[in-house]
Subunit: 247 residues, 2 copies
């Protein structure tokens, strides 16, 4: 793991890093309280489709979790996102998806193929990132949480299912089509977000993914509105959820 | 309004009262912080079927809201519940319902008839209780909240729809069959609870009642488990919800 830069604002230290991987260098960012030393819970934030590790929503979550809870928070660019190269296969699927969206066609099968391609790469990447971050003195081997919606859920479900260091997850804005099988292997507490009028994810497939989760403790939070209109109070809820399960 | 007794425990003053009504005396209870003076938010708690104004779950909610938020909390016995007389019509419908439950028959139409009968009485009663309580110096004319699940939701939906002094409500464990029309007239923020494996309320009718609510801000909270197994953290959530909307 190589650190590239370190800055601080509002009591939050932000460190950009890259971690070498067989799939290419992973660009990431770590947020911790200024002057932090010692072990603390680590929250991983999976960004949405077309976004990146420092999208405004990701940074806002990180600042809340660092300043209110004293946690460490990390995000990485998903494969084919942010500063990362796209393979011809990525390009083909993204082009196909955009074409179908413009033509009003059925995007679901292409999106499923794209998610499967990216997840095959991102799951081992996230696991390597956790290992590397937990070797740092100001992160340490504390409990891990994951929050990811939309693409962050599509990639998060197989990751949380595969990674026993993750003890609690906030997921949602994604359906069961490609994720039900991995969801059934998740056993940690989950808060699962649904937008009741989601124009991208049919309500029935959202509810089916919640249903598929193997967790004994899981709570569905549904709010009116479209895909991008998750109310701000759901971030408050996530902060409390992680505090309850990881502190 | 006539006060019958006053006791105190853990910083919470409990006053039993009766309020005369055309439907007979309404037995109620008011909880406030010890030594409280001045106006504060008032939360009304509607108990479940077969329960009463001082059922353990009602008292536990009251103590949380009084000690953590400084609110006033009140509960009354619903018609045909607690210390209140049953009419021959109540007896007929309750007997019919029990008979169908034992025989494994369709309880829904009888339950709907019973709820309609009780709500016709309880809505004006709750409104009179609010008026009387808000004349007290240690309650005053502050914002009002309502929390009621199961029977407390069946009676709460028409009450919240009819009563503009109610500014926020926590409802749930009840379906759309008899409540959808009144629910559409509710416009205040609602937190709506669903038990995913509810053996008494079909999931689809629960979701339909959430859908029917006219509120712009409404959040569905669904948890696994049967009708009576609402997780304790949903009371935490209700405390925060009322704090957010009424403080």
């Amino acid at each position: 793991m190589r650190f590239i830069s370190q800055t601080s604002s509002d009591g939050v230290t932000e460190q950009l890093f890259t971690l070498p991987a067989t799939s290419g260098d992973i660009p990431g960012v770590l947020w911790t309280p200024d002057g932090a030393t010692g072990t603390r819970p680590l929250i991983l934030v999976g960004h949405g489709g077309g976004q990146h590790k420092q999208a405004p929503g990701v940074v806002a979550q990180a600042h809340r979790l660092v300043t209110e809870c004293g946690f460490a928070v990390a995000a990485v660019d998903a494969p084919a996102h942010g500063g990362r190269p796209r393979s011809t296969e990525h390009d083909r699927l993204i082009g196909e998806m955009r074409g179908r969206m413009q033509a009003g066609g059925d995007v679901a099968p292409v999106l499923a193929e794209l998610h499967a391609l990216i997840a095959g790469q991102s799951v081992p990447e996230w696991r390597a990132v956790v290992t590397a971050l937990q070797e740092l003195d100001h992160v340490g081997a504390g409990p891990v949480g994951y929050r990811g919606l939309s693409l962050g859920c599509a990639l998060g479900v197989p990751f949380v299912a595969a990674e026993p260091r993750v003890r609690a997850a906030v997921l949602g804005l994604h359906g069961a089509e490609t994720s039900a099988e991995a969801a059934a292997r998740i056993t940690v507490p989950v808060e699962f977000l649904v937008q009741w009028d989601d124009e991208l994810v049919p309500r029935a497939t959202s509810l089916a993914l919640f249903e598929a989760l193997g967790s004994t403790e899981k709570t569905l939070h549904a709010n009116p509105g479209r895909h991008g209109a998750v109310p701000e109070f759901e971030l408050d809820s996530a902060v409390r959820f992680f505090t309850r399960h990881l502190s």
